[in-house]
Structures are given as structure tokens and as C-alpha cells.
């Protein structure tokens, strides 16, 4: 069949043929250039790091046998031990304290570091952003090492490390949530003569409450995962068990510990889903 026979969208008669392309000349060139440079840099990186691609492909076979030979069966009795469970509870408490105080610090930091609601764009905003960025820039393990060095072994450096980590994590997310609110409600509160604090309570907080709760729960999840390993550096919790068993090549115990971590994170995920649903319908 002749292609000309196919139906075409009707066009008003008498209008001239026009050219149109989504990306016009300089933009299109830049766009292709960016994609090309990403590919080139990828190839360069693989080449530079001398990544042996054949070993990468063979990895999965070995992964299976290693897991089957050494990590199976997990030593469940080991993690049912009262001493271990005590450390699990210590880890949970450490994560709880760290996340709680971190979140408490994040609320004012997020407020002050949000461009639309900050009390002062010139002074308070950059300071708040700097603090939250500083907390985030340092990895939680580095915080743990730092605090162990300063105040010695135990729970306290772990809690402090998790607190700084949670603060950096949540303050940025809180600030972003506040920056995304509908300013109409804020205008309405301003128009009623409310002060900045009252505007936050009535105009801003109801809009971000669900998101804040989600972020808070997510922060707890992340803090808990971090809490399981800060013990590596002597900052308390079950990380110490993990480290000891890894060093002693007690792989079946390591497997059991990893299982217990997955199990605890799963539980906190279920609780977080439930809590989010509750907050959604709250008045």
C-alpha cells in the first residue's frame, strides 16, 4: 500500500510547512555532549581502576558456594544467648537515644535552614545549613572513631555519633520538606497577625507532619543500622560482637548476627508503615 494513503491528522489548509524539534541547536549539542562524556568517563574509570571484568562475572558462583559452605547454617543458638540479647537491646537503646536527640536538634535546624521560613536569610539560614552540612559531611563511622578518641569506649560515644549522624541526615530532609509547602496557608496565618512561631505551628507544621514522621522513622531505621556497626570502633552495641566474630572467622555466627539485624530492621519497617498510615489520617 502506498504510504500516502495512510490517514494523517487534519491540518488547516493554507498554513505553511514548519520545522520543529524539541531540543534546539546549542542545547541539543550540549545534551549529546553530556551523555557522551558520561560514557567516556565510565570507560576511562574501568580502565584506570583496572577492573577485571571476568572476575566480576565469576563472583556470583563463588558467592553461592561461600555462603553455602561457610555461612550456612547460621548459628541461631548464638544469637539467642542472653549476653548477646543484652547487646541487641543496648544497640536499640543507643539508636533510639541518638535518633531522638538528633531529631530534636533537626527540627529547629530544619526550620532555620529552610529558605522560605528561616527567621533570617542573611545570618540564621547559612549557619543552620553549615551545621547540618557539617554533620552530614562526616561519616557516622568517623564520628564514632572521633568520639571514642575523645571520651573513651562505651555507649556515650555511640549515642553522640548517632546523634550527629541523625541530625545531619534529618535536618536536610526537614528543611527540604518545609521549602516545598504551600505558602498560601502561611500567607493566611501572616494575614491574621500571627508571629513566626505561630505560623510554624499552624501554617507549616500541619503540612509537614506526615513527611516529618516518615523522615523520623526513616532516620531511626538508618540510625539503627549504623548503631549495629559503631561497636566496631568500641562505641557500644552489637557491633562489637560482629567485629569479634568476623576476626575469629566464626562465619556461622556472623551469619546469625546479620540475620538478627535484618530481622530487627524488618520489624522497624513494619512499625514505620503502620505509624505513617496513622499519621496520615490524624486531625
Amino acid at each position: 500500500m502506498n504510504r500516502d494513503m495512510e490517514p494523517r491528522p487534519a491540518t488547516p489548509s493554507g498554513t505553511p510547512q514548519r520545522e520543529w524539534s524539541r531540543f534546539k541547536f546549542p542545547d541539543s549539542l550540549i545534551g549529546y555532549g553530556i551523555w557522551l562524556s558520561i560514557l567516556v568517563f565510565l570507560a576511562y574509570t574501568v580502565e584506570y581502576l583496572d577492573i577485571p571484568l571476568d572476575r566480576l562475572l565469576g563472583m556470583f558462583g563463588r558467592l553461592g558456594t561461600t555462603l553455602a559452605d561457610r555461612y550456612y547454617p547460621p548459628d541461631i543458638n548464638y544469637i539467642m544467648d542472653a549476653d548477646y540479647l543484652e547487646y541487641v537491646i543496648e544497640t536499640i537503646q543507643m539508636a533510639y537515644l541518638g535518633a531522638l536527640f538528633g531529631l530534636l536538634a533537626s527540627i529547629p535546624l530544619g526550620w532555620f535552614g529552610s529558605y522560605n521560613m528561616t527567621p533570617s536569610r542573611l545570618f540564621v539560614y547559612p549557619i543552620a545549613r553549615f551545621i547540618s552540612m557539617g554533620c552530614r559531611a562526616v561519616h557516622e563511622m568517623i564520628w564514632a572513631i572521633l568520639f571514642v578518641t575523645i571520651i573513651g569506649f562505651g555507649m556515650l560515644p555511640g549515642v553522640l555519633a548517632l546523634m550527629f549522624f541523625s541530625t545531619g541526615f534529618a535536618a536536610k530532609l526537614f528543611a527540604e520538606e518545609i521549602e516545598a509547602i504551600d505558602m498560601g496557608q502561611v500567607d493566611a496565618m501572616r494575614a491574621s497577625g500571627a508571629n513566626l512561631f505561630q505560623i510554624m505551628i499552624f501554617g507549616v507544621f500541619p503540612q509537614v507532619r506526615v513527611a516529618f514522621t516518615g523522615i523520623a522513622i526513616y532516620t531511626w531505621d538508618v540510625a539503627f543500622r549504623a548503631a549495629t556497626v559503631v561497636g566496631f570502633f568500641g562505641a557500644g552495641g552489637m557491633g562489637w560482637y560482629l567485629k569479634r566474630n568476623i576476626l575469629q572467622i566464626e562465619t556461622e555466627r556472623v551469619a546469625a548476627i546479620l540475620l538478627s539485624i535484618i530481622f530487627l530492621v524488618l520489624i522497624s519497617e513494619v512499625i514505620s508503615a503502620w505509624a505513617r498510615a496513622r499519621v496520615m489520617t490524624m486531625k
Binding site: Q185, S192, G193, A194, F197, Q198, F202, G203, P206, K283
Partner: protein, 250 residues
């Protein structure tokens, strides 16, 4: 004494940007229900928002009961805003709070921080809110979340919230443009009725000329930041309307 006197009001959103208001002057008397009409982009919203300083004027004077308001800051500015109720085009209710809390939020200018934090409003305010909700016909919805209401009901909450302030002036920004024609008329009638009853003068942006002619006793016609007309509604005629809406600024 005029409730509000505006002299040579100018506004622009950035120092290099175009001037949105190019020297507007008018007077609002105690029994006025003013309509501000004009095409989109004429500066109607900007004008309303300059009066309670949601938008900062770049020049001119605003006298509210003979008090210059363009230089007020901090607490004094909040005291000024407390005396001006505002009703919004998009209602601007707190969606996730109840109707009652929304109406009570009109009292924030009179409420301490501690009470605000726990939403513990004085008993008198609660009584006042209930009687206003009765008047706007929402008494049975008092515990509903604001986002569960229809458009007309939401605007009624907005009206009750503005009146909760015991305002000395009502600023009304396109109260009907998100509503259908029948509800629009009801909402305008309600605003007019409450304003008359409580003796609050009104300054009302409205793009619907018919509603303006019907409900308002005076009209200001704006076009591209200039005042084209200012007078009693009965002096407005078709020739003037054609002139005001002649230049569409999009």
C-alpha cells in the same frame, strides 16, 4: 475619618522588575463595600496584599485610621494585620486541621505562643468561633478536617476565620473565582451580609464584573497598574468597562 487612605501606592517585585502598581490613590469610608476590578495582571491582588503588607510596597503611603502603616515592623505590623481580616482566592485553609481549629487560627494575633502551641484557645474565643460557624452554616461540620469540605464550605470557613479577628477592615482577594456561579453568588451575599451586620468595610478584588456591580457600592477599575476609574457603582457604565478591559495583560 476614612478607614483607609491610600496615596500614590507603588509596588514592584524586584528592584529591576516592572512596576506592578504605578501610583494608586483612593479612600475607603466606614460603610464602603469596594470592588476592585480589572483584567488579569492589572495588579488587583498586589494592591490588596500591599495593604496588609503581605507584599511590600515600593512607594507611597497607606493610612489605616490615620496611621501610616508602610513603615511598621515586627509586633506593630502584626497588630496591624490583626485588625485586617483577609479572605483568599484559594481559601488557604489549613487542610489538615479541623474546621474549628481553622476558625480559631484567626485569633492567633491575640493568642500567646504557649497557648498556640497546645491550641488551647480561651473559652470566649471558642464561643465566638461557634457562633460564627453557626452564622455561616457550618455548625455540624465543626470537627471535620478542612480538606473534607466542598469549595463553597471551605470559603465559608475562610470567611469565619477572617471575622474571628474582629477586623476593622476586610480584604477579600477573588473570593469566588474557584467556585461555580451559584455558590459564588451565595458566598458574595454572605460576605456582604456579615460585613453590613458587623459594620466592617470591605475591599474586594473581583474579576466578575456582574457580581461587583451587584454587591458593591463603589468600584475601582485597574488597568496595568493604573487606576482608570474610582467612584460609585452607579457611575460605572459599559464604555468605561470596555476601556478598562481593553488592554489584556497576559
Amino acid at each position: 475619618m476614612a478607614v483607609l487612605e491610600v496615596r500614590d501606592l507603588r509596588a514592584r517585585y524586584s528592584a529591576s522588575g516592572p512596576e506592578i502598581l504605578k501610583g494608586i490613590s483612593f479612600r475607603v469610608e466606614a460603610d464602603d463595600f469596594f470592588a476592585i476590578i480589572g483584567p488579569s495582571g492589572a495588579g488587583k491582588s498586589t494592591l490588596i496584599r500591599c495593604i496588609n503588607r503581605l507584599v511590600e510596597p515600593s512607594g507611597g503611603e497607606i493610612l489605616f485610621y490615620d496611621r501610616e502603616v508602610t513603615k511598621l515592623r515586627g509586633r506593630q505590623l502584626r497588630m496591624l494585620r490583626r485588625d485586617m481580616g483577609m479572605i483568599f482566592q484559594e481559601f488557604n485553609l489549613i487542610d489538615r486541621m479541623s474546621v474549628m481549629d481553622n476558625v480559631l487560627s484567626g485569633r492567633l494575633g491575640y493568642t500567646s505562643n504557649l497557648r498556640s502551641l497546645f491550641r488551647a484557645f480561651p473559652r470566649d474565643d471558642i464561643q465566638h468561633a461557634l457562633s460564627l460557624l453557626d452564622r455561616v452554616g457550618l455548625l455540624e461540620h465543626v470537627d471535620k478536617r478542612a480538606d473534607k469540605l466542598s469549595g463553597g464550605q471551605r470559603q465559608r470557613v475562610g470567611i469565619a476565620r477572617a471575622l474571628m479577628q474582629n477586623p476593622k477592615l476586610l480584604l477579600v482577594d477573588e473570593p469566588t473565582s474557584a467556585l461555580d456561579p451559584k455558590i459564588s453568588r451565595e458566598v458574595m451575599a454572605l460576605i456582604k451580609q456579615m460585613a453590613t451586620e458587623l459594620k466592617v468595610p470591605c475591599l474586594c478584588n473581583i474579576h466578575d464584573v456582574q457580581l461587583a456591580m451587584e454587591f458593591c457600592n463603589k468600584i475601582i477599575g485597574l488597568q496595568d497598574g493604573n487606576k482608570m476609574f474610582d467612584g460609585p457603582t452607579k457611575e460605572m457604565d459599559q464604555a468605561m468597562l470596555d476601556q478598562i478591559y481593553d488592554m489584556e495583560v497576559l
